[in-house]
Symmetry: C2
Subunit: 81 residues, 2 copies
């Protein structure tokens, strides 16, 4: 989940400034968002991704201020029920 | 970046509880971390990943409380300098 383009991101600005201070000059932009790791029991990776997408739409993401994307982590496949 | 295993994550706990309240019962665990998107000019994707890894080690990640991983986003390749 990350702030939508055009919205102010003071945390990203602060990190951008700090990186420049430490000598990294090639940085064009920094945006800070949230990463939410959900361990969910599902019959397949596809089903788990659909559940996670529904969670984002109904609870986790604010569509006015945030963009989100959902992806699977393969190491969790074996841990699911 | 996400909280290391074993460390308390009250934000994750709150989301876990909220998901259960909304009827999602198959959730085993939720952890909330940070996603930092850095647009950096580099000669190759590999070089950009190495720069990002150095940034994490020197500034962005707290190794006591957080694990981090670095990955590239292909759509940014064309946007780099």
């Amino acid at each position: 989940m990350k702030p939508r383009p055009g919205l102010l991101d003071p945390q990203g600005k602060a990190i951008h400034h700090a990186l420049n201070s430490l000598g990294w000059d090639g940085v064009a932009d920094v945006r800070v968002g949230k990463a939410i790791y959900i361990d969910v029991a599902a019959e397949s990776q596809q089903a788990a991704l659909e559940v996670a997408d529904a969670m984002c739409r109904k609870l986790l993401a604010n569509p006015v201020t945030e963009d989100y994307e959902v992806s699977g982590i393969s190491e969790l496949e074996g841990a699911g029920a």
